[in-house]
């Protein structure tokens, strides 16, 4: 069983690397997940494959990577369910003009700048199998994403979650997440329909029917789980299994429709009942195995596909610099100026911009989808991964500089009178 041996060895090495690098990153006040993402890159051709090609080839033979990919995809399906589960639509209400304006601008500004950047990068890093429309829309969507889970973690670790600025950031990120995934679903359909045998109207009509069934049929059944939870303060293993099957069925439906597995998992999480105890219980059930075991595999698989600085010469660094500057300008700058325009003080507006600029692992998820469907090239993928790492890494130190811990004392209750 040489493949099983390799797979188990790979998982062990990945977990050790993720925990060690995650620990080291925590020491420099970075979120653990940032270290885990970097660990994935370090295990790939960008470092291990470059420093010790023999070890890299022995540890990650190409023939065995299919198993690692499959496991990481299953992990992502569960993770996207968790992301949807943590998303509470009630958080979107009551934050007034500032949050609405900021969230809209924080999508529109980077999206448009991503489109402009595509004019320059398309002839250099793409090819004629990809339409400019698909490439530009994907660039826009990838530039405009905010990592809702990483953002929440940074806010929690810094004790900012219940502050005025923290709650507003969460609300904006939630809007961004939903909008971003809707835009991405459209792009995936657009790109896949171009090459698929299935007529476009089947995908469109099927997607509409799927969303309607989820919102008006499945959503009405789901409170039964919550009622069972209230009776016993827990769910039986059988009921947990039913939830898992529902997640998988939803994921399969969107994959069959030509959207992507992950959209179905996300939507199933988003329509689950949102009472805090029930949500917390499910998050606890699903999060630990996903975060500790399966997500590091996804980071490692992403790292194996990333070739930072490998091939392409100096031009790649130039393109990377352009993408990073554009990404920061659009997201951080756009969010900051929109918040300021809506009357938020400069310091909080800048902090909001910094937080919205966190792309983290949601960006990696989107980039992997883009590479899978062929809308971005391997070099473009690596450049965007580098951008995701830079924008995530810069969040904590920049936030500490702009909005030191001693300043955030305003409680969440003040939010309405201050920003409404």
């Amino acid at each position: 069983m040489p493949n099983l041996f390799h797979l188990v060895l790979q998982i062990a090495v990945i977990l050790v690397a993720a925990r060690v690098v995650g620990f080291l990153f925590q020491k420099i006040r970075q979120p653990q997940v940032m270290g885990e993402m970097v660990a994935g890159i370090l295990l790939g051709p960008s470092l291990l494959g470059w420093l010790a090609p023999g070890v890299f080839a022995a540890l990650f033979p190409a023939a065995t990577l299919g198993y690692l990919n499959a496991l990481s995809q299953v992990g992502l399906v569960v993770f996207m369910f968790v992301v949807g589960l943590a998303l509470d639509p009630s958080e979107l209400h009551g934050y007034g003009h500032a949050a609405v304006l900021t969230s809209h601008v924080s999508i529109v500004a980077p999206f448009c700048l991503g489109g402009v950047t595509a004019l320059y990068l398309y002839p250099r890093l793409s090819d004629d199998a990809v339409t400019f429309t698909g490439f530009a829309l994907f660039m826009g969507a990838a530039m405009s994403i905010t990592a809702f889970p990483v953002l929440a973690r940074i806010l929690t670790e810094r004790g900012l979650l219940r502050t005025r600025m923290g709650t507003m950031a969460i609300a904006c990120a939630a809007v961004d997440d939903v909008t971003g995934w809707c835009i991405l679903a459209y792009i995936v359909v657009l790109v896949r329909v171009t090459h698929a045998a299935r007529p476009a109207w089947v995908t469109m009509a099927g997607s509409l029917a799927y969303v309607l069934v989820m919102l008006f049929v499945v959503r009405r059944i789901l409170p039964a789980f919550e009622r069972q939870f209230r009776k016993r303060d827990r769910l039986s293993d059988n009921l947990i299994a039913v939830i898992v099957v529902l997640v998988l069925a939803s994921a399969l439906a969107t994959e069959w429709l030509g959207i992507h597995l992950l959209f179905g998992a996300f939507l199933m999480g988003a329509i689950m009942p949102k009472t805090p105890e029930f949500t917390h219980y499910l998050l606890h059930k699903f999060e630990s195995v996903t975060v500790v075991l399966l997500l590091p595999l996804f980071f490692a698989f992403t790292g194996l596909r990333t070739r930072i600085g490998v091939g392409g010469g100096g031009a790649i660094w130039w393109y990377s610099a352009i993408v990073i500057v554009v990404a920061i300008t659009g997201k951080l700058g756009g969010s900051m100026f929109a918040a300021r325009l809506a009357g938020t003080p400069w310091r909080e507006a800048a902090s909001l911009g910094i937080l919205m600029n966190t792309r983290g692992l949601m960006e990696l998820v989107i980039l992997n989808i883009g590479l899978d469907i062929g809308v971005i090239s391997p070099a473009m993928f690596s450049i965007m991964v580098l951008m995701a790492l830079v924008t995530t890494f810069m969040t904590t130190p920049l936030l500490e500089w702009v909005y030191p811990t001693r300043l955030f004392k305003a409680p969440v209750d003040e939010i309405h009178k201050n920003v409404a």
Binding site: S126, D128, F135, H195, A196, G374, P378
Partner: protein, 124 residues
């Protein structure tokens, strides 16, 4: 919202006329006369014999020879050039072929034709 949407439509319209390098990424089945290959040529090639990973005008060709031999290639116009391979890129993206010559050290050039495997060429 109207202004950004109009701006985006303008960008998409402007981008439609931009030419991109011809796509060669994917798996390729290779047709050549084995008798024409000399001792220095690649041995043990199995179909699909080539895998090409492309980023714009840069490409990485991996031979399916059991050793995963790789070579850097560049695309200029309709020509793919690597260390011992020059080929013309022919046809539309969905039905693309490579036609050219392989010139191994110490061997006479060998004509070849490669056809891209349709199902694998764009992550489908």
């Amino acid at each position: 919202m109207g202004v950004p949407v109009l701006g985006l439509l303008g960008i998409l319209e402007a981008g439609r006329g931009i030419p991109a390098p011809l796509s060669v990424s994917g798996d390729w089945t290779l047709a050549l006369d084995p008798a024409a290959l000399c001792a220095h040529g690649p041995d043990g090639l199995r179909q699909p014999a080539l895998n090409i990973s492309q980023s714009g005008t840069q490409a990485l060709i991996t031979l399916n020879d059991g050793h995963a031999t790789t070579l850097q290639a560049t695309i200029a116009g309709a020509t793919l050039t690597a260390r011992w391979l020059t080929a013309s890129i022919v046809g539309k993206p969905g039905a693309r072929t490579l036609e050219g010559r392989m010139s191994f050290d110490g061997c006479a050039p060998v004509a070849f034709r490669a056809v891209r495997q349709a199902a694998k060429w764009r992550g489908e």
